[in-house]
């Protein structure tokens, strides 16, 4: 198991933007807002930033793939912020967690000293996220699109099988939706702040891909988030208490690996930021990480088990459901805020370690341990 990255790097600054459904501001202005906030929060100036990692890709059949319009590239950020000292930059498509891995590794080998990670997501008006526009499908799509399956429909298939095998119900799934919605009430940036959800609302919401309904899906918004990372030595000289990355694993089964890499046991973890692009992914992550038994996550998430104050508070900022879709940036940011002790009303008391996990069933996932001590 790779322990070479243990406590080598830390998150030292975080940045937010508004999260909105419709806007007359450019996507770039959201990205710049979050990036500048993260740099300032870290106690740094733009000239200090010498590394950059991003995941620019706009997903969905409606994506235009235009830099500055629905995607924000390294070039866009570097030129907009006038970062004069960049010596390492990398854009890779995927969830934001891939950028965190890249930034950690670049810092560890000395490719840069202060790395900025930005994720901006654009919600096009009048275009369905998953709409398919092409009359022909090639590559992996040749075996799915001719059957009317959009890529995300696969997640509904996995949930269907899980419910069949475990006996979990939609009422069980609502417990997860409700816990995250409650957490969103305590997050000033959350889209759903101020709006509760009841079981009746949930069961009445329309199907998207059955058994996934509208409120099982993440919230498509325009917004951005950013974090700044540096080496553990440099982190000590900056104003925020560092959120050390004590371990990470990038594999199909990161469950054991992240604990071995960090040397931190499951009983030493006080919170988990688990990716919730679709709400049942929280079940998958709880089981993948061994935080509960196989097929038992739906029981674990009953009775406030994952709520603040519960057995293991999960996705304490409201997640992609409650805060809004940022493909993992929100989870990374919240993990750092919790470890720094800056999560305000959402703060988990006496928190030393927080797991952050991004990804889903069919791809290698990324699991990180964020820790207060180094």
């Amino acid at each position: 198991m790779d322990k070479s990255m243990r406590n080598k790097t830390a998150i030292v600054g975080v940045g937010y933007s508004d999260m909105v459904r419709k806007t007359d501001r450019s996507l770039g202005s959201f990205a710049i807002e979050a990036a500048m906030q993260a740099i300032t929060d870290a106690g740094l100036k733009p000239k200090d930033i010498d590394g950059y990692a991003g995941t620019p890709v706009a997903f969905g059949g409606g994506a235009m793939h235009l830099d500055g319009v629905d995607e924000i590239s390294d070039r866009y950020i570097i030129s907009s912020l006038g970062l004069p000292n960049i010596r390492w930059a990398l854009d890779i498509n995927g969830l934001t967690s891939i950028s965190l891995v890249q930034a950690m590794q670049a810092l560890a080998v000395g490719a840069c000293d202060y790395a900025l990670v930005v994720r901006a997501m654009y919600n096009p008006v009048g275009v369905r996220y998953n709409q398919s526009r092409s009359p022909e499908a090639g590559g992996p799509g040749q075996f799915t699109d001719p059957y009317g399956l959009v890529p995300m429909g696969r997640h509904a298939q996995w949930l269907q099988r899980y419910m069949h095998d475990s006996g979990a119900t939609k009422e069980d799934l609502f417990n997860v939706v409700k816990a995250l919605r409650d957490h969103a009430q305590l997050n000033p940036y959350a889209y759903w702040r101020g709006k509760d959800i009841t079981l009746e609302d949930y069961l009445a919401s329309r199907w998207i891909y059955e058994p996934l309904c509208l409120f099982d899906c993440d919230m498509p918004l325009t917004g951005a988030g950013a974090v700044v990372l540096t080496t553990a030595e440099r982190a000590k000289d900056l104003p925020n208490p560092p959120a050390y990355i004590s371990g990470f694993a990038s594999t199909y089964e990161p469950g054991e690996a992240v604990f071995e890499a960090s040397g931190i046991g499951r009983d030493e973890v006080q919170a988990a930021q688990l990716y919730d692009g679709y709400i049942h992914m929280i079940w998958f992550w709880l089981e993948k990480l061994g935080l509960c038994g196989k097929g038992e996550a739906y029981k674990f998430t009953r009775d406030g088990g994952i709520s603040l104050g519960g057995t293991l508070p999960v996705t304490t900022f409201g997640g992609s459901q409650g805060e809004g879709r940022l493909h993992g940036m929100g989870h990374i940011r919240e993990g750092a805020m919790q470890v720094m002790g800056r999560a305000g009303e959402r703060q988990v008391p006496d928190l030393e370690n927080c797991i952050v996990a991004c990804g889903f069933e069919s791809v290698p996932g990324h699991a990180f341990m964020f820790s207060r001590g180094s």
Partner: protein
């Protein structure tokens, strides 16, 4: 009946034999001649023993619904919701699963474990796609 409004597959260098077989209403996949593994999606080597001696081999076309979703949104041209997209596990090999609609079956009647068999849907003169429908046993 040809339905040209639905998405049609674009074959490539690794998948052309699959779609050529489908046009003849046969379900074929590359099979490793060393250890007998069927490889899907089609690839140049066997992922288990790494042999490149693969032969396109016809399958029985029998399987069972492993899982499914009911699509309720109008997201793909030519498909009117609600419709089922299922993963069908073929009886030749555990984990060998194809996506398919379930034809000749009302949407609410589809269930996990349902026995199904292959049939073919002609999308044009040149293109037919494998589909599955219920079988009696």
């Amino acid at each position: 009946m040809a339905d040209s409004t639905k998405v049609i597959p674009h074959a490539d260098l690794e998948t052309t034999p699959y779609w050529e077989a489908a046009r003849e209403h046969k379900l074929k996949l590359p099979k490793c001649s060393q250890d007998g593994t069927f490889v899907f999606p089609p690839r140049p080597i066997c992922p288990k023993c790494h042999s490149d001696k693969l032969e396109w081999t016809e399958l029985s076309g029998r399987g069972a619904v492993y899982t499914f979703t009911i699509m309720h949104d109008k997201m793909v041209a030519g498909f009117d919701p609600p419709y089922v997209v299922a993963q069908v596990e073929l009886e030749e090999q555990a984990g060998l699963r194809l996506q398919s609609n379930i034809l000749e079956c009302p949407v609410p009647d589809v269930y996990i474990g349902m026995p199904v068999e292959v049939t073919f849907e002609d999308r044009s003169e040149e293109i037919s796609v494998p589909q599955f429908r219920p079988r009696s046993s």
